[in-house]
């Protein structure tokens, strides 16, 4: 069973397919849960304390905005832990008030730098693409350690 980093990190589709085909999806929810379930000082809404941006210095330089460094304290450990990655390019919903374009770029750069097996995709726009999308993910996951192949 391999640990598979998924991007977008909140993706329902990727999270489900990775778990369904027998691997462990590394999604943002696991890191958020870790913080939400750790006692300490109250820091709503995500329990990200001033420690977050400090931890983020491992992946982003000090002059990088604290928002990017805080986000990297969530995603950085998952990138380091990942044994493979599935990336959906250009997801509309990861950009905007809830996302951060610079963090997204940094995540994509760092995961590619890890040289782990990566599957690059786009969201399917019709049924035929959906069929190929699922088949490609299954084949990729079957080829990993602990996969069906």
């Amino acid at each position: 069973m391999a640990k598979v980093f998924i991007y977008p990190t909140t993706s329902l589709i990727l999270s489900d397919l990775v778990a369904r085909f027998g691997h462990t999806p590394l999604s943002a929810a696991l890191q958020i849960r870790d913080r939400i379930q750790t006692p300490g000082l109250e820091s709503p809404p995500l329990q990200i304390t001033p420690e977050g941006p400090k931890k983020g210095l491992r992946w982003a330089a000090v002059e990088v905005p604290s928002g990017v460094r805080g986000r990297m304290s969530l995603y950085g450990p998952m990138i380091e832990e990942a044994e493979a990655a599935i990336i959906i390019n250009n997801p509309d919903f990861s950009f905007g008030c809830m996302g951060c374009a610079r963090t997204n770029e940094l995540i994509n750069f760092l995961i590619r730098k890890r040289k782990v097996p990566i599957l690059d995709l786009e969201y399917p726009v019709n049924d035929e693409e959906g069929v190929e999308f699922v088949a490609a993910i299954k084949r990729f996951l079957d080829g990993l350690n602990g996969g069906a192949a």
Partner: protein, 152 residues
């Protein structure tokens, strides 16, 4: 700053989404309540949230998935249900994260189609998934040439 003590520490929460022509979230909820055995089940408009210890939650999910495997989708959630930092009852408007779900649920029937077609697919068939478009961006050297040509 005030002290923070987490509720439901040591539990996991998972979302179960159902997008099926044969099953509604309330059908799924009834089945989940039957086998819940102390695990917290919350019915939502799109499916369920299940909170409890990991083994119990996985047992319920495995059992529910069998009802309609290609139309039931599961993902982890960081917050427990009804958490005041996330619940729209306290915030007003859609819950943060809802828009991502709304977007993916809009195209999940294509994924269901893909799951249904997997058994009929030959193992040797090479998939041709939607690949990212490789639009060439302006090269820095080319940009410099353009600037130089304008200056001279």
């Amino acid at each position: 700053m005030t002290q923070y003590s987490p509720r439901y520490a040591g539990t996991v929460t998972k979302y179960i989404f159902v997008e099926s022509p044969d099953m509604t979230p309330s059908d799924l909820a009834i089945r989940a309540y039957e086998i819940s055995q102390g695990v917290m089940i919350k019915e939502t408009c799109f499916g369920l949230q299940v909170t409890g210890n990991e083994d119990d939650v996985n047992r319920i999910i495995d059992s529910l998935r069998m009802l309609d495997p290609s139309h039931i989708f599961v993902k982890d959630r960081g917050f427990p249900p009804g958490d005041s930092r996330r619940c729209r009852a306290n915030l007003g408007g859609a819950r943060p994260g809802y828009f991502g779900h709304e977007f993916e649920i809009g195209l999940i029937r294509r994924v269901s189609k893909g799951l249904e077609s997997l058994p009929a697919r030959k193992p040797k068939d090479t998939p041709h998934p939607p690949a990212p478009s490789r639009v060439r961006k302006l090269d820095a050297a080319r940009l410099k040439k353009i600037i130089d040509s304008q200056e001279s």
